[in-house]
């Protein structure tokens, strides 16, 4: 009994609370940094756009594919955290960060496939399944990831596009990770696949009209299974970026809700992969604004919290402006509004 008394603190069970505390390590504000005034703010925001924005990019592309097939996966937060853990652990064990990224994609695909398989059963609420997969993925990642909290694993390489400058902040802002480049190429490629290939057409058909796809002889549950698995794989890659590049280590506080934001981002980008790219950059930049302003002494630590809320306010405003109770949103796959 006395053992229990010793443990009367109310923080043990759920780690979800930490979703709400944005992990914001300093954005390259080293002691030897040159004082650039307001330019420093701009440079810090540019650095944040791609550094913080890359995981947003991968989860939103993944969610975009899933939603195009007519289903929402709200569980990408769990996939992201699981991807971060797997990527880090495999990179640590094999010594190759790219094997880690691949493993994270594989785990993400499995989690996505589980989500899709459960949602394919009758009478199951996909929103609830998403929340449950989020809990399950995070719990599993925290459980399996315990041994990897201390060690450091080989990191993903970055391109130094800022080699021409002697100013440290500019070098830092232009140090671009290879995965970001992959994402930048992937976004227009996915848009092209969705628009021009047979696969893309079938996927969009399943998202626009289940009956039409069935009448054409395609299995809608199978299309959605594949789409959700691919979406999960991308979210897993996004997670591996977190643990293998920025912030660059595995901890239980690694994600700050990027996976949850995916759904909002896709709405913000109105279901276009290319717009997902710009939306992710914007969210990355805006998310950095609070810390960057604090670095410039433009705001106090407490006011910075209000800046952290900016991406959420932005998404909500966009939704309020573009939604209507009379019709579905422009660009939304028709099947999504049917399930409401």
């Amino acid at each position: 009994v006395s053992e229990l008394v010793a443990h009367l603190d109310f923080s043990a069970v759920f780690h979800l609370s930490r979703l709400f505390h944005l992990a914001t390590p300093s954005l390259g504000a080293a002691s030897s940094a040159t004082d650039l005034g307001l330019w420093g703010l701009l440079i810090a925001v540019i650095a944040g756009a791609h550094k913080v924005g890359t995981p947003f990019l991968f989860v939103s592309l993944g969610e975009c594919i899933t939603e195009k097939s007519g289903r929402v996966n709200l569980g990408l937060e769990g996939t992201l955290v699981m991807g971060a853990m797997t990527g880090f652990a495999i990179s640590y064990k094999t010594g190759s960060p790219w094997v880690g990224v691949l493993a994270a994609a594989g785990v993400g695909a499995v989690l996505g496939a589980i989500h899709a398989a459960i949602c394919n059963l009758p009478r199951v609420n996909y929103i609830a399944v998403g929340i449950s997969m989020m809990l399950f993925g995070m719990g599993l990642a925290f459980y399996l990831g315990k041994p990897y909290i201390q060690p450091s694993a080989p990191k993903l390489p970055a391109l130094n596009l800022g080699f021409w400058s002697s100013i440290e902040q500019i070098q830092d802002a232009l140090r671009i990770n290879a995965l970001f480049v992959v994402g930048v190429v992937l976004a227009p490629f996915l848009a092209w696949v969705l628009k021009n290939t047979r696969w893309g057409l079938i996927l969009r058909l399943a998202g626009e009209s289940e009956e039409a796809a069935a009448a054409m002889g395609y299995s809608v549950p199978r299309i959605r299974l594949i789409a959700t698995a691919v979406g999960g794989a991308l979210a897993g890659v996004g997670g591996s970026y977190l643990s293998l590049y920025y912030p660059g280590s595995w901890s239980e506080q690694i994600s700050s809700g990027q996976g949850l934001m995916a759904v909002a981002l896709v709405i913000f980008a109105r279901w276009s992969p290319v717009r997902c790219l710009f939306a992710s950059l914007l969210f990355g930049g805006v998310g950095t604004l609070g810390v960057a302003m604090q670095g410039q002494n433009l705001t106090s630590a407490s006011v910075a919290y209000l800046w952290f809320a900016a991406p959420y306010v932005l998404t909500l405003l966009i939704m309020v402006i573009t939604c209507s109770r009379l019709r579905a949103m422009v660009g939304a796959p028709a099947e999504l509004s049917r399930v409401q």
């Binding site: 009994v1 053992e3 229990l4 008394v5 443990h7 009367l8 109310f10 923080s11 043990a12 069970v13 759920f14 780690h15 979800l16 609370s17 709400f20 505390h21 709200l74 459960i118 059963l121 009478r123 199951v124 609420n125 929103i127 609830a128 399944v129 929340i131 449950s132 997969m133 809990l135 399950f136 993925g137 995070m138 719990g139 599993l140 925290f142 459980y143 399996l144 315990k146 809700g257 949850l260 759904v263 909002a264 709405i267 106090s300 630590a301 407490s302 006011v303 919290y305 209000l306 952290f308 809320a309 959420y312 306010v313 909500l316 939704m319 309020v320 939604c323 209507s324 109770r325 409401q340």
Partner: protein
């Protein structure tokens, strides 16, 4: 809910929970080499095995019951609200602020004021969510989540900025409320009055949703909103009132945590009760009375986490894995409803479909 559906719900739910315990047992045996009998013995001891663990489990259940109502009430209207965590934070903050403003009044006045302010604070957040759903067609799940994020950042801003007690150095917090205004233990037990708040709120919610015309109209709108509108029901008012009540319940959970546990509003308030509440609500199938046992069960699991960690040397995330498995199994079991023959009415069973 008649006897047959109650039996169906209970047996399917219990089977799903047992199945998740079996899966968890296999998982722990495979990954941590913990023998199932040790695992379940310590889980039972930590949750409900002693008088002390019962009291601790019930203490943890109190905010869960209230937070679960935030999902359960709007669910009757077909809205899945997952912003309870935000409502809880705002409610706790409003309660702490009011408790400080009313210092010097009688303890009951202070408690009443704190509860009222918490209900208003938490209710407003979900009211906005319901309003956006009704007037602008914004998906309630997403908007409640975004609003919860915004609410928690506002909470952080106020607790670390304007409302901060300068004496709270390492862990920013508001000034503590007057000690005489704290919620005391019930009937000599080591369980505070927040539990009674939760049980009363559930009974009231049950009466409202299952035994009044308001509840009937709400359930009808939940079944088919267009049909309800065509029938002349005030759908907008139903949505707004139900959402506000749900948010108020979660806000009250924040007040209970401030007034019975922390004495002040700080980051400890945001401990995941809002999120666990979603789970509790789903396990109770959004039935207000079902929430009470479901919350006690989850309160117990949370209470058992500590002793399991120390006795079995397993990570604290183990209970979280179990909760995740339980949630998945409960959702899987949804597709069993109406399929088990013994729970079907006889007339339906005997219908013969001509070949």
């Amino acid at each position: 809910m008649n006897g047959r559906t109650l039996a169906e719900t209970l047996s399917i739910t219990i089977c799903a929970l047992l199945a998740s315990l079996v899966i968890f047992g296999v998982f722990m045996f495979a990954f941590a080499h913990v023998r199932p009998n040790d695992l379940f013995y310590w889980m039972y001891i930590g949750a409900f095995g002693t008088k002390f663990s019962w009291q601790y489990s019930l203490t943890r259940a109190a905010p869960l019951i209230l937070a679960a109502l935030c999902t359960a009430l709007p669910a009757r209207l077909g809205l899945i609200v997952i912003g309870g965590e935000g409502s809880l934070a705002l409610g706790g903050l409003a309660a702490a602020g009011t408790g400080l403003l009313l210092a010097g009044h009688s303890p009951y006045t202070i408690q009443f004021g704190m509860a009222g302010a918490a209900c208003v604070g938490g209710g407003l957040l979900i009211l906005v969510c319901g309003g956006l759903r009704y007037w602008r067609g914004v998906n309630a799940t997403i908007s409640s989540l975004l609003l919860a994020y915004i609410a928690i950042y506002v909470f952080d801003f106020l607790v670390e900025g304007p409302m901060r007690d300068p004496a709270s150095l390492n862990k920013p917090a508001t000034y503590p409320i007057p000690p005489e205004a704290m919620l005391g233990p019930m009937f000599g037990l080591d369980v505070h009055w927040g539990l009674a708040y939760g049980v009363v709120a559930c009974v009231l919610a049950w009466i409202l949703m299952d035994h009044t015309t308001f509840g009937f109209a709400a359930r009808m709108a939940g079944g088919n909103m267009r049909a309800a509108q065509a029938a002349g029901l005030p759908v907008g008012r139903l949505i707004l009132v139900t959402c506000a009540l749900g948010g108020a319940a979660a806000g009250l959970a924040g007040m209970v945590e401030v007034a019975a546990v922390h004495r002040q509003a700080n980051a400890s308030l945001i401990a995941g009760y809002g999120f666990t509440g979603i789970l509790v609500s789903f396990i109770a199938r959004h039935h207000p009375l079902g929430i009470i046992p479901a919350a006690v069960l989850f309160g117990g699991l949370g209470a058992a986490s500590g002793i399991m960690q120390r006795r079995l040397l397993i990570p604290d995330a183990s209970v979280q894995v179990l909760m995740g498995i339980m949630f998945v199994m409960i959702l899987l079991s949804e597709s069993l409803y109406g399929r088990l023959r013994i729970f079907q009415p006889r007339e339906v069973r005997e219908v013969v479909v001509p070949a």
